[in-house]
């Protein structure tokens, strides 16, 4: 498609804004009135976002050169002002993204426009195909010149060109050293577990952030490097989604604990660093006002819809109602990962086994849930909290004994005949006790949290499939226990909460 043709297409799309308004408006409603930033890796190529963003990029290229919102002028903001390897790296970029997103929405007449985030842990960390196929999203198409210097960035002129080293179909994870997976959910989770802001922001910036820039911009030795590798990196449309993911991970880390204070000792002043949707300089912005997402008109889809919806309801509600609403939001709707019906009898001489094909297992394991945390004793307003999602196995038990001197050890994916009560396969035990209905109790449900075992296996490289095998191994609880007790494992449901 030639650029001229795209302009025609853009005009046609602008003439039918209801197409995109409907989608984004619904998303905003689901986001408690805020723009919802979604995972671009889970978007179909026909998602309206790609067309909208292409329109915005084209529109910014076509503004008068003296308009502060041009594609180049937006990149120059980065070159002149962005802090890197400093404590306010994430703070400054949150403002930068926020205003860029508003400019996009303004130029395409779509106030609900939201940037998605490039989730490097999905699909091998590939750049989505529309960033190659849809010309305005392909940095090659525009061939913008960098040719600028700022002491903020470095003494040398930036001389990158409109190319991407990361070609279509190749992902960030493909460019890692053999056997390494530092863009995986598991590794990103270790960054999210950083105990202090200094450790968190250093790991986030120096590892996935810096590497993402370098890999996307890296051309073989001697060739001009792509924009993403240097100070004019915002000239590549993928830049903004790359930084959205950084911002999302910061938001998750921020919300994970009251200990995660990201207010920094020096409140850097960003006055007039940015321009708003109309192109006017933003007179007031600073680092510490970026800390609280409540100051911004967006939210991430990793934040549960119930919590997001409550955000609007909670504001201004009487204190008692706030607490009740927050408490209800903590009870999240479980996601069923898989289920299997079996009929396998277990006794002291025989284990029962069931294997569940668990779709989205790793996704569920390494994602987090966001909820409103509140305590009746709390004196402050409920706040968003983040925790790793938990994986639960609900065991359907039939023909169970009443009180029995039998413990049942539960294993996940255990190697054949392993009976060690510890290590990455053992998750715990349960027992049968006190049935008032005679020797055999009614059908029972036993719920086991298998999150820890799965994570341990993943960290040790033992989790090689999304199939989850549950083994129930009865053992005598006391010496000399009778051996004729048995029960039937009838069903296993796996759920993520």
């Amino acid at each position: 498609m030639q650029r001229r043709d795209f302009m025609k297409l853009s005009a046609a799309a602008l003439a039918a804004p209801y197409i995109v308004t409907g989608v984004s408006g619904a998303a905003r409603a689901a986001g408690g009135g805020k723009r919802v930033r979604r995972d671009v890796m889970k978007m179909d190529a026909s998602d309206p976002f790609f067309r909208q963003y292409a329109q915005a990029v084209a529109a910014m290229h076509n503004l008068r050169k003296d308009d502060t919102r041009t594609w180049r002028n937006q990149a120059l903001i980065h070159l002149h002002h962005c802090p890197h390897h400093k404590e306010d790296f994430v703070h400054w970029h949150r403002w930068y993204l926020n205003y860029f997103e508003q400019i996009c929405g303004e130029l395409i007449g779509e106030p609900d426009f939201a940037l998605p985030y490039w989730n490097w842990s999905e699909n091998g960390g590939r750049i989505p195909d529309p960033f190659y196929d849809l010309e305005p999203l392909n940095v090659v198409f525009w061939n913008d010149k960098s040719d600028a210097q700022s002491d903020n960035w470095g003494p040398d002129e930036v001389v990158t060109v409109g190319v991407r080293g990361l070609t279509k179909g190749v992902g960030l994870q493909d460019r890692e050293a053999p056997g390494q997976d530092f863009f995986s959910y598991e590794k990103i989770r270790t960054i999210l577990e950083s105990p202090t802001f200094e450790i968190f922001t250093n790991q986030l910036e120096r590892q996935p952030h810096d590497k993402g820039h370098v890999i996307v911009g890296a051309m073989p030795q001697g060739q001009p490097q792509g924009h993403m590798g240097d100070g004019m990196s915002p000239l590549d449309p993928i830049f903004w989604l790359h930084h959205c993911n950084i911002d999302r991970l910061w938001a998750q880390w921020e919300a994970a604990s009251p200990e995660h204070r990201t207010v920094i000792s020096r409140n850097y002043d960003y006055s007039n660093n940015f321009v708003d949707a109309k192109g006017n300089p933003v007179p007031v912005a600073d680092a510490n006002s970026a800390v609280d997402l409540k100051n911004f008109d967006y939210i991430y889809d990793t934040m549960q819809a119930s919590a997001v919806e409550l955000a609007g309801v909670l504001e201004g509600a009487p204190r008692g109602e706030q607490l009740l609403l927050a408490a209800s939001a903590v009870s999240a709707v479980p996601q069923v990962l898989g289920s299997v019906a079996v009929k396998d009898r277990a006794s002291l001489t025989e284990a029962a086994t069931a294997t569940v094909a668990a779709g989205n297992l790793t996704d569920a394991m390494f994602s987090s849930r966001v909820f409103w945390a509140a305590s009746p004793l709390a004196v402050t307003s409920p706040r968003l909290a983040v925790a790793n999602r938990r994986i639960y196995a609900t065991l359907g038990i039939t023909d169970a004994p009443g009180t029995s001197p039998m413990l049942v050890n539960v294993y996940v994916n255990r190697p054949k005949d392993t009976t060690v009560t510890g290590g990455p396969y053992f998750t715990g035990s349960f027992a049968f006790f006190a049935s008032a209905k005679g020797h055999h109790a009614a059908d029972q449900k036993v719920i086991i949290d298998i999150t820890g075992a799965l994570h341990e296996q993943a960290q040790a490289g033992l989790l090689t499939s999304s199939d989850v095998t549950i083994d129930l191994v009865p053992v005598p609880a006391v010496e000399g226990a009778r051996t004729d007790d048995s029960f039937v494992l009838s069903k296993v449901d796996l759920e993520a909460i």
Binding site: W153, P195, V214
Partner: protein, 173 residues
Amino acid sequence: MVVMPPVAALVAVFLTVLAPAPPGAGEGAGTAFAAEGAGAAATGAEATGTAAARATVAVTAADADAAGRGDGYLTLLLEPVRTVPREPYLVVIEARPGNAPEAEAEPIGSVAFHPPPRDGDVGEFILTVPRRLLLRAADDGGLVVSVRLMPAAEGGRLTTSALRIAGASLRRP
């Protein structure tokens, strides 16, 4: 700009003279380190596209205890010493207990320079060290950290680029 970690955060660090690695292990232009005390920068071995630089960090039982039930954190100072334009690279960092064979080295991080590297501009990198590795290192000769470069570009190769380890220390959160 040379970035140094806060002295208060440093824990009993030393850089030691290293025996050559086995053939094929990537040991190369390796001038050895002199022991210079906590967090001190030292002239040392160079990491290149074909050779690793190594440093040994002392790990005490107290360091492992300080990590509590969680992982430990290593601060690594890397100084580009030969930088050429248009030769982008990633930095691969591995670690093993001091007395363990090279084959047991495991990746603890992979980093890059953005803005691009400049000779003499030291970068500070914080890396997660799994608790089990920290515990083993406390009992087994400290933590040997190796650093090597790899091309960032598909089909790329590195002919000139090099950096050195300017400091390595465990930190307490």
